[in-house]
Symmetry: C2
Subunit: 315 residues, 2 copies
């Protein structure tokens, strides 16, 4: 039976992974906002360094989840996680009892609002390790990597994590199930909490400029994330920080997703990454002064910046 998928947020991430599921013969509809007219008319073009170029023509192009007429096996939530967007409201009209909710999004502590709102659904938390940008309306450029990690976070007996992994693997992208996706989220946050805000607060430095000049600050932030994760029961591998540092040294210098958002006047995932980390720290009674400072500075930055819906990502 053809699996039915509704992608909500067809920017770089949603467009890319949605198009892969379509390649694997799923029936993939999309909800998009800023690019609606273009995608409805022309679909989405993906050019990938590793997978070639292809065209993705969604089965339906919608402006709102309520317009979806079928029963989705998977709702794939791929927007940014920002206070301006209510994730529950966004997906609710398309969530039926048999629908698995999959969110491929950045940030920590972003599970509970979905678990609370949809207590009887299969909920799958997803992390994308990918370099991928929306370069224009309906135009996505896949630069590097692409691996997905998925983990069931609901206690729903009929989780479809394995089926979804299979579908992605069939499409040509590596996807695996995680035994502790919350730990993996904190593991990813180690990098994000350091490089994303520093790239913005430095006035636009690339990863290697930051690292060459202020590696101790990068490490202090990473260390605080690591301590918070352990305190809430998701101890990270002991080499997490060293690996984050050395892998960044090993990559070409690049702009973080938060810097791209900032430069484009889009809202930044400050709350999903730093705010939620700090709230977890406060809950556990842990001081995180480096993150606290960086978070407060990002809030000051927000006062100076306009915000808009995002449609470009580099995760």
């Amino acid at each position: 039976m053809t699996p039915k998928v509704l992608v909500i947020g067809a920017g770089a991430i949603g467009g890319f992974y949605g198009s892969l599921l379509a390649k694997a013969k799923a029936e993939v509809a999309v909800v998009c906002r800023s690019d609606y007219a273009q995608v409805k008319k022309h679909g989405i073009n993906i050019s990938s360094e590793t997978l070639g170029n292809w065209h993705f023509r969604p089965s339906r192009v919608l402006q709102h989840a309520s317009e979806y007429e079928g029963v989705a096996d998977f709702v794939l939530l791929c927007t940014k996680v920002i206070p301006e967007l209510d994730r529950v409201t966004l997906i609710r009209p398309a969530v039926k009892p048999q629908t698995s909710i999959v969110f491929i999004q950045n940030g920590v502590g972003i599970e509970n609002e979905l678990l609370d709102a949809f207590p009887n659904n299969d909920i799958i938390s997803g992390l994308a390790f990918i370099g991928c940008n929306r370069i224009g309306p309906g135009e996505i450029k896949h630069l590097a990597y692409g691996r997905l990690s998925l983990g069931t976070i609901s206690s729903h007996p009929g989780t479809k994590t394995a089926a979804l992994c299979e579908l992605f693997n069939k499409s040509g992208i590596e996807c695996s199930a995680s035994d502790d996706i919350i730990r993996d989220r904190w593991r990813k946050c180690v990098w994000n909490a350091a490089f994303n805000p520093l790239s913005v607060l430095s006035g636009g430095l690339l990863t290697l400029d930051i690292l060459h000049s202020q590696e101790p600050l990068v490490r202090n932030i990473m260390q605080e994330i690591s301590i918070i994760a352990a305190a809430i029961g998701h101890t990270l591998p002991t080499d997490s920080i060293d690996m984050s540092i050395s892998s960044t040294y090993g990559m070409p210098s690049y702009k973080t997703s938060m810097l791209l958002d900032f430069e484009n006047g889009h809202p930044m995932e400050t709350e999903a990454i730093l705010g939620n980390a700090l709230r977890a720290a406060n809950g556990a009674g842990i001081a995180s002064p480096h993150i606290e400072t960086v978070y407060a500075l990002m809030k000051l930055r927000d006062i100076k910046s306009g915000t808009a819906l995002a449609n470009s990502k580099h995760e």
Copy 2:
């Protein structure tokens, strides 16, 4: 006998206080750099909200202290404190045994290089509480306040602090001797270490925007400065932080001197304020994570910014 004064760094601070000493009948020569041609030809115009407008014609206008031919009773050092400027080299040619060295400059821990270089001279540390800008070559606008606090830091028996205070008071500006000028420097640093970098790192916010949004961060930085000062033997008054906060709430919102420097592409006093505070903290074995973070971010900012000699101040 007419006191002889050589002002080194005739920007807003040096031009303003030098002109006051000339008003009090001292013989005041100036060394200036960027405004040399203009000041040599036309002198300096001061327009003051509280003291009226006046013209200051220095007895000599020089490009370098070595050109000074007399024996100065006072060398008044009024440049910014930045690594690009070697304060000792700058003043040495004009320092004779009977010369008192007076520095009216921002920052903490900036005494030792002068004490070491001139062990037999009278050295007077000065703090200016003033709103004063260079608005063009040879044009100074005095906006508010103006009080000076002076304190002898050398063990020289014949200190001329009292005589200098008298001269300033005669000119119409309040000047008093401090019994612990180093403590007063740290007291001023409480404000500077918080508002100056936050105004830059926020992307250009004014004082009240910062305070309304992130007062806890402002207080955390102030608290760390206060702890460092106490650890090195200069305990601040217990109400220092509350007073700094409430007096800022009581003033109109304004741009800090560091933000003005940043916006004009001038070098910032990051080392004199934050760097030296952190070095004192390290020496005393004290953790100052909020300041550490802000300092590291300012260093990253520096990578993105060009630097040049400063000629505008708001202290």
